[in-house]
């Protein structure tokens, strides 16, 4: 199934893009998705357990993904 990954701020810089489509097996979790993404992270800028949001809501690593989910990888927030 296809999952959309959103990258922001320092992560977008590290990956050189802010949005990509990834193919993952059905039943994949957020953790599985992160494994895939990590393979593309040559600079090693992703921390061991980055904050993740699925469809605009914070989600845990064991969350099971569905086709079409939008997974955002969220650097340490710094608003205000």
């Amino acid at each position: 199934m296809t999952i959309t990954a959103l990258l922001f701020a320092s992560y977008a810089e590290a990956f050189g893009c802010d949005r990509l489509e990834l193919e993952v097996p059905d039943g994949s979790t957020v953790g599985d998705f992160l494994q895939r993404l990590r393979g593309m992270d040559r600079d090693g800028r992703l921390p061991p357990a980055p904050l993740i949001a699925v469809n605009e809501r914070y989600a845990r690593q064991d969350r099971v993904l569905r086709a079409g989910d939008e997974v955002a990888v969220i650097p340490a927030v710094a608003g205000g």
Partner: protein, 145 residues
């Protein structure tokens, strides 16, 4: 209650007027502004970016929590994104309540949770020409405002 992520300059007075109601005896307005120094480095400006749809959703959740916890619907919060100069307001939170203790507490709740949960990032541009993404979780000698 109302929240917004906006690109244009913020208007603190407008937000203060928005929460006014004849039952309220206390209004607390918080304004976060870009300051000229951070951790001893001279800052020239800050570029704010956001996961805008989620930022609005999360900020709305925070304001709802504050409204329920401190018993007032008169809360408005706006965060600006884009390139800001020294002195520009990046965030404005207006709260009004019949009583002052709750007005202060609700205001504080919104800004603390915003800084913890709302997906907004900032890149500081320094006077020496360098730029850096700010990571509040990194070790620091000083706590940011």
């Amino acid at each position: 209650m109302r929240v917004a992520i906006v690109r244009s300059p913020l208007d603190p007075s407008a937000l203060l007027a928005e929460v006014a109601a004849s039952a309220n005896g206390a209004s607390v307005l918080f304004v976060g502004t870009v300051r000229d120094t951070n951790e001893g480095r001279a800052v020239e400006g800050i570029e704010y970016t956001a996961y805008e749809s989620m930022a609005a959703r999360e900020l709305e959740a925070i304001v709802s929590e504050a409204a329920s916890r401190f018993e007032t619907d008169d809360i408005v919060a706006e965060h600006r994104v884009g390139a800001l100069a020294i002195g520009d307001a990046s965030v404005v939170i207006a709260v009004a309540h019949p009583h002052r203790a709750q007005a202060y507490d609700a205001s504080r709740y919104v800004i603390e949770e915003l800084k913890r949960r709302v997906p907004i990032w900032k890149r500081e541009a320094y006077v020496d020409g360098t730029r850096e993404w700010v990571d509040p979780t990194a070790t620091r000698t000083e706590v940011a405002s």
